[in-house]
């Protein structure tokens, strides 16, 4: 089996090399012969997908067959591993995840190559660029991180097992989502670079890639937040974001991708920011690769670094080559990227996008700087320093708050110019609402002068309310106009409104989701935790909850042995639930793992972890966290994803009006 996989990868490398070279030759010397050559390049690209898919199937099948002659499977699987995790073995280690990356890239390439008739020449350029990226990953797979490398010496009877941290249901979907996001940004990048090389006229390439970009962004958003949820549910420290280098690596392309999603609208609508957008999509692609380099090379230590090796050198070269190639084509053809319009007013959608981009890029720079600073410090001072949560909280939170303010104001601004009068009129209500919330919070005990964290929480709450109220007021105002004309109810009118411009109103829903996420995050300063050794009948109180230990016991299964406690949870005199915090000891990997138990409500999460047994008394140590508002984060993410899906649905076709009609005043910021 492993030989089939190895051969498939080698052939895939040859075919993607052919796809790139033949595609590039056909594009460089156009003519009747080159059309046929280009077609063979396209088909070679399609065949690459078939071969990489075959290699992935071979690896997964071998995992199910417990073929521990394959070194990768020996290190990441074992006989008693449950079936879903055997499937997830594909992305559980370095070699497998690179194969998975290559598979996703090939799949994106397949879709692109099948849809080539949309614009044959532009698609041919994009196909060649994707083939070039594919060559890099296949070179890695064939020569540096071979997933089908065989064990030497006597064959082991069982595998070393999967890292316990990865034995969690979310790990079956979190990496694919993240990789779909990472890899997906290669497609808009390939189109952008293709358009730059061929000096593509107009902005059609943006319309072609709009859906790709949005879908990719949605996947990356899902991936980032699933990672946060996984950390919350598995790592057991009671938090969801620790500013770990791997988390940072996923956040950086998300930030630049978000900036690109906004600024690309300026190019599409007003023919502005063309050079900027080129660099932005390149930076997004580049940061996705850089993130992989950071986490796979081992140069930066991380709690998530499940696989580290010497492939860093390969990534360095690839990053350098892509940077040089992109810079060369940019300077060669930058005259093609001149802006078509001037900025007419400071109070306009255009300027809000400029500042939005500035802040998103600044946030990205801060994260990148914080991630790299330990290395810079070691180089300059000779000793490493830690750049952890206190740094990011001090530096990134003010930027995030400013971004939130722009998110609130942006939708109220129209393209070209907005009058101060209309801005004041539309902003007054939401601003007063946000102010009222701030005062209420202070009255109910949030004292911003006590702690900077409370100050941030207060500001975040007010700004999140401002965003939510702005979005709601935009929907209501637009809905009312439609309702007056059609006689529909306000709700039906708002649906109608969305359907007339799905992208704009879907985007507003995404903004609303962001506000909900922020509300969830601002609960962090009010977290509480307690730790206690709990024997039979012992009690611990945290917030409104009283925890009573009913029992504690041990169990055994083929994959792991475990210790767990039975904790009855009371609120007042009423028992509301029973929770079972647990600690497992995985036999194959010989590693322990804490499994927290979480009771989520809209108000707060009760989060229990089994810290271990006190060896002297034989009683379990239970740690309880009370984390307010965490559920809002996950709900907010669902709203963000829902908003993206709504924005992806095509808008209703505009109705053709024969007779001249009176034009109704559109809501502020009309026109996307």
């Amino acid at each position: 089996m492993s030989q089939i996989g190895s051969f498939a990868l080698l052939l895939a490398l040859a075919l993607s090399a052919y796809s790139f070279l033949a595609g590039a030759l056909a594009l460089a010397w156009p003519g009747p012969t080159s059309e046929r050559l280009g077609e063979t390049a396209r088909r070679a690209g399609i065949a690459t997908f078939a071969l990489v898919f075959l290699a992935a199937v071979v690896l997964v099948t071998s995992a199910f067959q417990d073929d521990f002659s394959i070194a990768y499977l020996y290190h990441h699987s074992n006989r008693d591993l449950p079936a879903p995790y055997k499937f997830a073995t594909l992305w559980s280690g370095q070699e497998g995840s690179l194969l998975f990356w290559s598979l996703l890239l090939a799949a994106y390439g397949l879709v692109l190559r099948l849809r080539h008739k949309t614009d044959a020449r532009l698609f041919a350029y994009a196909s060649a660029i994707i083939a070039a990226v594919q060559i890099f990953f296949l070179l890695l797979l064939n020569f540096a991180a071979h997933p089908f490398a065989l064990m030497t010496g006597s064959l082991p009877t069982d595998g070393a097992g999967l890292n316990p941290l990865l034995q969690y249901p979310e790990m079956v979907i979190h990496p694919p989502m993240l990789y779909l996001g990472y890899v997906g940004f290669t497609v808009p990048f390939a189109f952008a670079l293709g358009a730059l090389i061929m000096r593509y006229p107009g902005e059609k390439w943006i319309r072609i890639t709009r859906r790709w970009t949005m879908v990719t962004w949605a996947f990356l958003t899902c991936g980032v937040f699933l990672g946060a949820h996984w950390a919350y549910s598995v790592l057991g420290w009671g938090g969801y974001w620790g500013w770990d280098p791997v988390e940072n690596a996923s956040l950086m392309p998300w930030l630049t991708g978000t900036a690109f999603l906004h600024s690309v609208m300026m190019q599409e609508k007003r023919g502005m920011l063309k050079m900027w957008n080129m660099w932005l999509i390149f930076a997004t692609f580049w940061l996705a690769i850089l993130g992989t380099f950071l986490t796979r090379s081992g140069i930066i230590s991380s709690v998530h670094a499940f696989a580290q090796s010497s492939i860093g050198g390969w990534f360095k070269w690839f990053l350098l080559i892509t940077l040089v190639a992109f810079t060369f084509f940019f300077f060669k053809n930058k005259s093609h990227l001149r802006s078509e319009h001037k900025l007419e007013s400071l109070i306009s959608r255009e300027s809000s996008f400029l500042f939005n981009n500035l802040l998103l890029l600044l946030a990205c720079f801060t994260v990148l700087w914080g991630t790299w600073f330990p290395l810079i410090s070691e180089y300059v001072q000779g000793n490493k320093v830690t750049v952890g949560p206190p740094f990011y909280n001090k530096v990134a939170i003010p930027v995030a708050l400013l971004l939130l303010l722009l998110t609130a104001v942006g939708p109220l601004l129209a393209w070209r110019k907005t009058s101060l009068e209309s801005l004041k009129r539309n902003f007054r209500g939401p601003a007063l609402g946000a102010l009222a919330l701030g005062i209420l919070m202070m009255v109910f005990g949030v004292r911003p002068w006590n702690d900077i964290a409370y100050f941030y929480a207060l500001m975040a709450a007010m700004l999140a309310a401002l965003v939510a109220l702005t979005v709601t007021s935009e929907f209501i105002r637009g809905g009312r106009v439609i309702s007056r004309h059609t006689g529909q109810s306000l709700l039906a009118s708002m649906v109608h409104l969305w359907h007339r411009n799905t992208r704009r109103y879907g985007g507003y829903i995404v903004h609303f989701g962001v506000a909900v996420v922020v509300i969830g995050i601002l609960g962090t300063p009010f977290n509480q935790d307690r730790e206690k050794e709990m024997g039979y009948g012992d009690k611990m109180t945290i917030g409104p909850y009283t925890l009573v230990c009913e029992s504690y016991t041990q169990d055994d299964s083929p994959n792991y042995s475990n210790e767990w406690a039975i904790i009855n949870v009371f609120k007042g005199d009423r028992q509301i639930t029973t929770m079972y915090p647990e600690r497992r000891f995985y036999k194959a990997s010989q590693q322990p793992q804490t499994l927290p138990r979480i009771r989520s409500t809209i108000k707060e999460d009760l989060y229990l972890t089994y810290e271990g047994l006190n060896e002297t008394t034989g009683r379990p140590i239970i740690k309880a966290h009370l984390n307010p508002l965490v559920m809002w984060i996950w709900v907010g993410v669902l709203i963000m994803i829902g908003g993206t899906v709504l924005a992806l649905i095509p808008s209703a076709a505009p109705v053709r009006v024969r007779a001249p009609a009176r034009i109704e005043t559109a809501p502020a910021g009309a026109g996307d």
Binding site: K269, P389, F391
Partner: protein, 189 residues
Amino acid sequence: MLRRGWRGLGSHGRSPQTHRMTVTKTKRLLTSNPIFRRGLQVGLLCLMVFAFLGAGDESRFNSLGHRLMCVCSCNQVLLECNHVGCTYSDRMRGELVAGLDRGENDDLTLQGFVQKYGPTVMAAPTTTGFNRVAWVMPFLALVLGLLSTVFIVLAWRKRPALAAPGAVLPVSGADLERFRTQARKDTEV
């Protein structure tokens, strides 16, 4: 004394007529402008909230514990380390409590940890020496970014219009198509 001072400040450098006009203007602003009045009320309410609600005690243990890292290589903040079987975090927490009991100030307590465990025990770079660069760079980037954005905005605003008013220039086929495309983009819903 205070009243005299206030009166003196209020009328400083103005003729009685100007002063009367300013007072009338202020009165009119207070009585006729509801937004101003409401803003003033909200401001007063905020002031009262600030004045009557007292500040609580902060937990130094919690604060300092979140400024230190556990050194068991789990890459977690000291008070958040839940590494099963961690041999460092309990001991370090004990040392932190002991330091606080001795009445040491924050700097001295943290310095003790740095001396014992090395600079990586601090969860964030210090604000001394080269480490200052870590803190300065993001703000420097913000300032440079803001300046660049302002420069771009000003440059764009100064850019000449496509054609002077009244001077009709002949439009070629390619330009005409470009204008058509732009007009379609600007007018689409």
